[in-house]
């Protein structure tokens, strides 16, 4: 298996980045190749749209691809911090990569703003003054789904998620709110594409519903195979399993499915309406929740830069914490552990013309904070 190791080594050869002088330097490490690329591309595009609309000078963004590999992400982070001297890092999609990068980055006095991953460890015991999560703590959307399941009268759920930090947070979050029985609980491999074995277990379990967290290509595979299997139990999921990128590849199989999200394109506020229109104009596709998170992250940074220089860390931190920017989610504020306190909605998958998308049908949880805030001492 020497060949495989060499493959990994060769993949780690880093891309070259352009170095230039700027007042504020932001390093974005995100997934731009491989199976998770759609998520990283959306975060990047949302982020850069906000930077571009703002148009100020003296903000430079360096973007690199982590290939969804923790070792690659760590290398890029080290180089960005040590030789390129970035002030702020952002961009990581996957929780296992965030766990590898964030503690080391914040320990070196760099700010890290997460546009996606929100592992429970970083919200609780290992929280850090320089770490802000602009998206959600991982459990949040799943908690809302658990609450929705109670309301919908589901009593015997079969739950599954990939075996990595966000997957464990997902099922923990669902179980925290859900009051019914569990017909089964499965952890699948991260990046798994064949779910025949799991679907057979669902069929045999006597469940009344399925809850699954499978972001990116994993969700596409699962939904297509589920639709073809003849199992017709209702499916509930977090928005990650039904984002704008996934729905087009799944097609009719996803129609009518309920899912939970902190954002949707039909959220009624000015910032969001402008964001949806300008994103479509620039990139020719509907924004996903990942794009909205990237957009909010950039606008948060810009709002803090209006008030303080990054070099004045205390002032800049206070400016970030204040979160005085027009979030596309409407109301947005940070809790004491620098994680959002926000509304989470229930959405339904619909078809608009030829495009599959979501519409909000209810508010799942209002002003919801995460369960780990109490463990954070800072």
């Amino acid at each position: 298996m020497k060949t495989i190791r060499m493959l990994a080594m060769a993949a780690a050869i880093p891309a070259l980045a352009v170095a230039a002088q700027a007042d504020t330097k932001i390093g974005m490490i995100t997934t731009l190749s491989g199976g998770g690329a759609g998520l990283g591309v959306d975060v990047r595009d949302g982020f850069m749209l906000a930077i571009e609309q703002d148009g100020r000078e003296g903000v430079e963004v360096v973007i690199e691809d982590d290939q969804r590999k923790p070792d690659v992400a760590v290398q890029i982070a080290d180089r960005m911090i040590q030789s390129e001297k970035v002030d702020i890092l952002t961009g990581i999609i996957w929780s296992n990569l965030a766990m590898a990068v964030v503690p080391a980055a914040t320990a070196q006095n760099v700010f890290y703003l997460s546009p996606n991953a929100g592992p429970s460890a970083l919200a609780g015991k290992r929280c850090h003054p320089n770490y802000f999560n602009v998206a959600w703590q991982n459990d949040n959307l799943h908690e809302a789904a658990g609450a929705y399941a109670n309301e919908a009268g589901l009593k015997n759920s079969f739950i599954l998620a990939p075996n990595y930090p966000a997957g464990q947070d997902a099922l923990t979050g669902y179980k925290r709110m859900y009051q019914g029985e569990l017909a089964g609980e499965i952890y699948t491999k991260l990046g798994q594409t064949d779910y025949a074995a799991e679907i057979a277990q669902i069929r045999a379990s006597g469940a009344d519903s399925v809850y699954f967290f499978l972001p990116g290509g994993m969700g596409i595979s699962f939904l297509k195979q589920y639709a073809g299997s003849g199992v017709d139990l209702p499916v509930v999921g977090p928005a990650f399993s039904f984002d704008q990128g996934i729905l087009q590849a799944v097609g009719d199989a996803a129609l009518g499915v309920k899912n939970t999200s902190q954002w949707n394109k039909d959220l009624d506020n000015e910032a969001n309406a402008e964001f949806v229109v300008s994103f479509q104009e620039k990139y020719g596709r509907l924004p996903s929740l990942y794009a909205s998170q990237g957009f909010d992250t950039a606008n948060l940074i810009l709002s803090a830069l209006d008030k303080a220089e990054v070099s004045d860390q205390d002032a800049f931190r206070a400016a970030l914490k204040a979160a005085e920017f027009a979030s596309v989610r409407g109301d947005f504020k940070f809790g004491d552990n620098h994680h959002p306190i926000q509304d989470i909605y229930v959405r339904e998958v619909i078809k608009e013309g030829d495009v599959y998308t979501n519409k909000i049908i209810a508010t799942g949880l209002s002003d919801h904070a995460d369960a780990y805030a109490g463990e954070c001492k800072m």
Partner: protein
Amino acid sequence: MTYILVLEQILNGLQLGMMLFLMAAGLTLVFGVMGLINLAHGSLYMVGAFAAAAVAGWTGSFLLALIASLAAAAAAGALMELVVIRRLYRRDHLDQVLATFALILIFSEGTRWLFGSFPLFLDVPSYLSGPVSLPGGIQYPLYRLTIILIGLAIAAGLFLLIARTRIGIQIRAGEADREMIAALGVDISKLYTLVFALGAALAGLAGALVGAIQSVQVGMGEPVLILAFVVIVIGGIGSIKGALAGALLVGMTDTLGGVFLPQLFTLFMDPASAASAGASLASMLIYILMAAILLVRPSGLYGGSA
């Protein structure tokens, strides 16, 4: 745990095995006949899936899509052999690995450039969708059953090709002694291109068949490639029979291990940690299997003296 579930899981293992066989057959032929490690085999799988998705999108016909996947992957394979691979036969394995790894990057980024970063839509045709009832009351997706049958048919076809035809004789002779068959007047470079294109076509077909029930996206070939390497190492490099045995073994182990290990663990752990620990061990299982087989038979199940 009912016997229906066990039977269904065995069918799932068989289906995964058949898909792996399509990948591994080409890989093992290329390695056996030309002594070449081709890391870019997974890219041909991806090419097949994308060609199928594109053609299915234009024409709406799944059959045409499958034909397109065969043709596109075979063409890409032949081109790859003529332009790059041909120069690598006399080099050592490290050079081959580096060059074919470069090909992975070129194919991946080329595909991204052509089709974008978002997954493509390719679905099972309506006449193959939905479940069928098998004897014993098993509900099994018709499409997966079709994959098993296609795999079996191709395995039979390959055995006939290798054992009964003139090309087969040349391939076997090429494996045994490539100078000698060149001396006997066989156009060895044409034979190599042919074998390479054949292997590529099989990988492309696997990509298209699997793409319909998974997601058609850039980088979809690499995870399968790693499994295919495990298969040919277990089966014995260069042996089609070994590839079939190895593929079925890996398919069964992976599927059944993933299902039954977590359940075994619940006997002495609480369900949540059993699910997590069982899943972790299950993903290691095929590599443990490979190590165990290599301990007993260092050149694989059907390998010659390597």
